[in-house]
């Protein structure tokens, strides 16, 4: 019996993927005027991560054997690569591009729900069993173009989702605390999906139920040689749980980043909250100037205001 090739040797970069990465890199230098600009590292980290998860044995595992590996790829592309690309955009852009981006940011600011829906919707959409199984259809097609479609969609969705939080136009950012709500509600959306996948019947995703372990019997659960021993059900549970728990921690990390940003920004006195509306005993709106109080030096602490 011939021994299957080691899983660690399964590196496959499709021409389409290489084109995508090269195109994105070219886009950076096109936008930055050929110069390396601040935070460029983030941009190219995103490209590196993208190439890594799409070409590495992890990807191979995800495509052929393990849903859980596939889920890791999804999450890295959607929640790390997309936002990092946005974060790493060159700060100094040609004025026409900057104006267009600002206009887009302003428009998106009025349609924040769209950005939110892109981030959450792509997760749900791609994991509808029929869509999910279909996304493996063109695995061997020329240039790997069909297989790259979901990746591009996730990159775009991830970028769009993070745009209101870290987009290039700071004035169009959500208030950091609103950003916490934005991220947290998205986290709930993904958790619900993760929960569904975790507790769904084990053959919900036919692609993996049918997977012949693709010439890598060492991955099949019922082979004595398999050190990982993931059954189909375990694998699907792990995939759901990855979306449910660690994925939430990425959102949570984002929330903590926003909270830290909020507390570190030492702006002046913020615009006061909207004046009280109505109701019995509604507060008399006091402006700071109207405040006049007895001096504590004269009467000591503990003096009422009446």
């Amino acid at each position: 019996m011939h021994s299957p090739p080691s899983i660690w040797a399964q590196w496959h970069a499709s021409p389409a993927l290489l084109l995508l990465v090269a195109g994105l890199a070219a886009a950076y230098f096109g936008l930055s005027g050929g110069r390396w600009q601040a935070r460029g590292g983030l941009y190219f980290t995103a490209l590196g991560l993208l190439a890594l998860v799409e070409a590495s044995p992890l990807h191979y595992l995800g495509m052929h054997a393990l849903f859980s590996a596939h889920m890791v790829v999804h999450i890295v592309v959607l929640l790390l690569c997309g936002p990092l690309l946005v974060l790493g955009l060159p700060p100094a852009l040609p004025s026409t591009v900057a104006r267009r981006l600002a206009r887009f940011s302003g428009w998106l600011r009025g349609h924040t729900w769209l950005a939110w829906l892109a981030g959450v919707g792509i997760m749900w959409g791609l994991h509808v069993p029929a869509v999910f199984d279909a996304s493996f259809g063109g695995l061997d097609a020329a240039f790997g173009l069909p297989a790259l479609l979901p990746v591009v969609a996730m990159l775009l969705a991830g970028a769009l989702f993070s745009w209101p939080l870290v987009g290039p136009t700071a004035e169009a950012h959500l208030h950091p605390l609103a950003g916490v709500v934005y991220l947290f509600s998205a986290c709930v959306g993904c958790s619900l999906l993760g929960l569904l996948i975790t507790f769904a019947p084990a053959d919900t995703y036919q692609h993996y139920a049918r997977a012949g372990w693709c010439g890598t019997p060492s991955l099949a659960p019922d082979f004595a040689s398999n050190p990982w021993g993931l059954s189909l059900a375990d694998d699907q549970q792990a995939a759901g749980l990855i979306m449910w728990v660690p994925c939430c921690f990425i959102y949570l990390g984002g929330c903590m980043y926003l909270v830290a940003k909020y507390f570190m920004a030492d702006e002046g006195v913020a615009p006061p909250p909207a004046p009280p509306l109505r109701g019995r005993g509604a507060i008399r709106p006091l402006t700071l100037a109207s405040v006049r109080l007895p001096s504590p030096a004269g009467e000591g602490p503990g003096v009422g205001l009446h």
Binding site: L177, D234, V245, C248, L252, L277, V303
Partner: protein
């Protein structure tokens, strides 16, 4: 705007503190929509239910004092421990925390009233009648007897045929709606009714924690209410949500209950964290150390609350994959709480401490809650959970968290704010007696239960065989319980005498920091006439010490400088 004016019998002069000797007597309290009176009534309600729930558990402790006791029948025992848990969580801890919130949030943000005063009254009465309805079950054929988390299939008609579980559903549904309306009210009040100039980062920590708590309630109570409605359908109309023979799922109940239940733990602890933050700062004469970290870790706790509930179900058999993930994530929730503990320690470090009774409870909390937290982390380790689940170790853990955390927070808040609410001072000597009696009784009751649990004594059994050590440990536990009971009676006596004839309290007896101390004790019907400008999280102190104000030293409010 005055087209909806409603005349309510309320005095125009200062409110009567805690007495009912006003011009309108009891009617004025019953018809009140004033947030201070409603807050006080929440607290009275909590005290009343605490006496009832405490009595129930003392009966249980008598039954457990010696092996093979026949003091209570198994049926009575089941009803008593179920009612004890449900009462203490839903009708003592929740109303008391919300009582403080409803009383003090408007005062602390410089508002004169909650956003929706009449909704506020509705919340109180819904909660009270929810509790009363649940207790009516004693007269209607038997109280709920399936434990406070009321697992399926035990909650199904064939296993619990008395109407108790139906009353549990109806009572908790009512109270749950009351809690949700109160939370909506708090969120809107905090977002919209802050005095102009008070930014989010100037809000007292207690207000922050009430905001987070209210958001948690809004996100978690729907799961409970849905589960209760489904259970009622199961029991009354023979639906099959949790009925396995009919194709339902018993585990679904656990998921829904703990999807509510784990956030509920934080609903019960975050306001206490807020109270402690105020108290540590005031009685150390320092700003709270790391305001941003305390608030930020509070936000982290609130968000994490929804990602870990399955750790209550590690023994259900969901599989190693599921257990592994939730074991790992549950250990993470120790981090933000640990951050807070160190923040409070750092707040005390180098401060000039005043060991008032409120401060004593706060310090005791640091010890007790850490014990409860550590045993909680132990449960996140799956093999330990499998070994200890459903034993007295769980009972010890939950009580170290809920008594050492929530109840101590409530006591600390009571001793801190009582002068403001009543205009009277509590007897300091008796207060210290109460503190020591309660702390000793509490540890006497529950410390030994760690041992009992490790020895294998299961919880929720009405009696036990005479195994080596079990009788003695249980007797110690019962004695401790009675000590706590005596302390509670002492507390009631202290409260009543202080309200009747305690010395009058000044407006600001503790030289405190936040705006509630800027008005009289007790506050007038209209809380404020004017409010000092808010430029930091300690506006009242800034006003009292204009040369030393926080906003003059930007690093100070972050707790960077010493005093």
């Amino acid at each position: 705007m005055a087209n909806t004016t409603v005349l309510v019998p309320e005095p125009a002069r200062p409110l009567p503190g805690l007495s009912i000797n006003s011009s309108q007597g009891l009617l004025q309290w019953i018809s009140s929509v004033d947030h201070k009176q409603l807050g006080i009534m929440y607290l009275w309600m909590a005290l009343l239910f605490m006496l009832v729930g405490g009595l129930e558990i003392l009966l249980v402790r008598v039954q457990l004092a010696v092996p093979r006791n026949t003091f209570l029948s198994p049926e009575a025992y089941n009803q008593l421990f179920t009612m004890h848990g449900t009462t203490m969580i839903f009708f003592v801890a929740m109303p008391a925390l919300f009582g403080f919130g409803i009383y003090f949030v408007p005062l602390m943000i410089g508002a004169n009233e909650m956003a929706f005063p009449r909704l506020n009254a509705l919340s109180l009465w819904l909660t009270l009648f929810g509790g009363s309805l649940m207790y009516f079950s004693f007269l209607a054929g038997g109280a709920p007897d399936a434990g406070w988390f009321n697992y399926a299939p035990l909650n199904q008609f064939n296993y619990s045929s008395s109407p108790g579980v139906d009353y549990y559903c109806a009572g908790l549904l009512l109270a749950g709606i009351g809690t949700i309306t109160a939370s909506i009210n708090l969120v809107v009040t905090i977002l919209r009714y802050r005095i102009p100039g008070m930014r989010f980062k100037d809000m007292p920590v207690f207000v922050w924690m009430m905001l987070l708590t209210a958001c948690l309630v809004l996100a978690s109570f729907p799961a409970l209410n849905a589960a209760l409605a489904m259970l009622l359908l199961d029991r009354q109309l023979h639906a099959h949500f949790f009925d396995v023979t009919g194709g339902g799922s018993a585990v679904l109940w656990q998921h829904l209950f703990w999807l509510f239940g784990h956030p509920e733990v934080y609903v019960l602890i975050l306001p206490a964290f807020g109270i402690f933050s105020e108290i540590f700062a005031v009685f150390s004469r320092k700003p709270v150390f790391g305001y941003a970290f305390i608030v930020g870790s509070g936000i982290a706790i609130a968000l994490l609350a929804f990602g870990v509930w399955v750790h209550h179900m590690l023994a259900v058999g969901l599989g190693n994959t599921v257990n592994g993930f939730f074991s790992a994530s549950s250990m993470l929730i120790g981090i933000p709480t640990g951050i807070k503990i160190f923040n409070w320690l750092a707040t005390m470090h180098g401060g000039s401490l005043r060991f008032t009774v409120a401060m004593r409870f706060a310090i005791a909390f640091l010890v007790e809650f850490t014990i409860g937290g550590l045993s909680g982390i132990a449960f996140a380790i799956v093999p330990i959970d499998l070994q200890l689940t459903d034993t007295y170790f769980v009972v010890a853990h939950i009580h170290y968290v809920f008594i050492g955390g929530t109840l101590f927070g409530l006591f600390a808040g009571l001793f801190y704010w009582f002068p403001k609410m009543s205009g009277r001072l509590l007897d300091e000597r008796l207060s210290k007696w109460f503190f020591w009696l309660f702390v000793v009784g509490f540890n006497g009751t529950f410390l030994v239960q760690h041992v009992l649990g490790t020895l294998g004594m299961p919880r929720r059994v009405y009696t036990y065989p005479d195994l080596p050590g079990w009788g003695l440990l249980n007797m110690i536990s019962t004695a401790g319980g009675f000590l706590m009971g005596a302390a509670t009676l002492l507390l009631v006596y202290m409260l009543v005498t202080a309200i009747r004839r305690g010395p009058l309290a000044p407006a600001d007896p503790w030289d405190a920091y936040t705006l509630e101390w800027a008005t009289t004790s007790p506050p007038t019907l209209q809380n404020f006439d004017r409010v000092p400008p808010v430029r930091s999280a300690r506006p009242w102190r800034d006003h009292k010490r204009p040369d030393d104000a926080d906003h003059l030293k930007p690093g100070k409010k972050k707790g960077v400088h010493g005093k």
